[in-house]
Symmetry: C2
Subunit: 235 residues, 2 copies
């Protein structure tokens, strides 16, 4: 299996970094190829703009999707994006490793998606959801959150982490055809003891060795929809 | 009223740019002060890192919240961030103007939040939700989405736009004490006729003149919670 870990944390001493090292060790130890895009270490620029492209479809008005479609048929993405697109195309398993900041992705990772998941490379031409470009690949979030589990629940100040990740699961992974594996969530790594952190890493090791048994988040069946709206009866 | 519009679109000919121009004209015409942070035009760097700070609390391990707390008591934020923090502190109304990309904020805007909403400036010391730093201020999203309204509904491939914006409403605006006004949503501006786009701008003009009657998204009452968990009975 080819694994791509997209890692989004600025500190090598962080628990996120420990999780990525654990994933590299576990997956390489099981015989898989592991590639890590360490976005902070790469100095990745997350701002999507004309600088994404070496080609120009319309020099007057910038429409990113138009430029993406044009670049994808004219080999026009700048090398730093094409390299990430190639990693994405090659991987069988995609892992997003990040701390949840403001209930979402750190900007450096959001911008990796904004720029790398381009028309013609990640979607377009009717290829989405269960007809998506990345059908047959799997994707998973491995995240840390600052608070304890109870705060992220029906009775908590925030929704369940899995619901907070809806934009990633449905909008990014699901839309582009990935089979979405339930997230691996670490609560309050900065507020627990060393042995509890160690147990989290052990459980992450086990999860990664046993991905086939992890819960799958229900994919969307496009056959039931027309123009984005459910047409078949629900029951 | 002092209004801060944080504008996140790279193209001056876009409908997002037309909305920001409409808001400037409408609000200035009504006698308000309007400041626009045009993030693309400013070349805003959305990556949160040690470069946020002129001060250093811990030179070995980077913990962003620790550095933020330190910088906030030592006047240690770099000028480009301090300027945005000052705009935020001065405003009575905050508007995020952006296209929804991948069911979320464009990276340049997410990073504005990651960097500007710092400990000691936007939260900290028990100040959150209805005890938040920005109590008394109002905030609203003004957004475009690529698809038509029916796709964002109970029967659509995506949740309602208001639900998609949950991380912004609850996690960013609500958490820091803003009163959250229902979003103004433009569906498929690239796929409708000129007069329909004109009507959207007219309706946005009316919304901005009549904010007091706009629906408020239910705030969280911290008195009902302890350590982030609901303690009072629900009914």
């Amino acid at each position: 299996m080819n694994v791509l870990i997209v890692h989004a944390h600025p500190e090598t001493g962080s628990f996120n970094a420990a999780m990525t090292r654990q994933a590299e060790a576990t997956l390489a130890g099981a015989g898989h190829e592991v590639v890590v895009s360490d976005l902070y270490a790469m100095g990745f620029n997350p701002v999507s703009n004309r600088h994404n492209f070496m080609t120009v479809a319309d020099s007057r008005t910038l429409r990113l999707q138009t430029e993406e479609a044009h670049a994808s048929t004219h080999d026009g993405f700048v090398p730093e994006l094409q390299a990430e697109m190639d990693k994405l195309a090659r991987c069988d398993l995609l892992i997003f490793q990040f701390p949840i900041w403001w209930l979402g992705l750190p900007a450096i990772l959001k911008g990796w998606v904004d720029r790398v998941f381009a028309v013609g490379r990640a979607y377009g031409g009717g290829r989405y959801f269960d007809r998506g470009v990345f059908q047959g690949k799997r994707a998973m979030c491995a995240v840390t959150v600052g608070g304890f589990r109870a705060a992220y629940s029906e009775r908590g100040v925030y929704a369940e982490v899995e619901d907070i990740l809806y934009p990633v699961h449905r909008g990014i992974f699901g839309f582009t055809g990935f089979t979405v594996i339930e997230p691996f969530v670490v609560y309050a790594p900065g507020r627990i003891e060393t042995d509890e952190r160690r147990r989290y890493l052990d459980r992450y090791h086990e999860r990664l060795l046993d991905l086939d048994r992890a819960r799958i988040i229900q994919p969307l069946a496009t056959a039931l929809y027309e123009n984005g709206v459910l047409t078949a009866a629900r029951d």
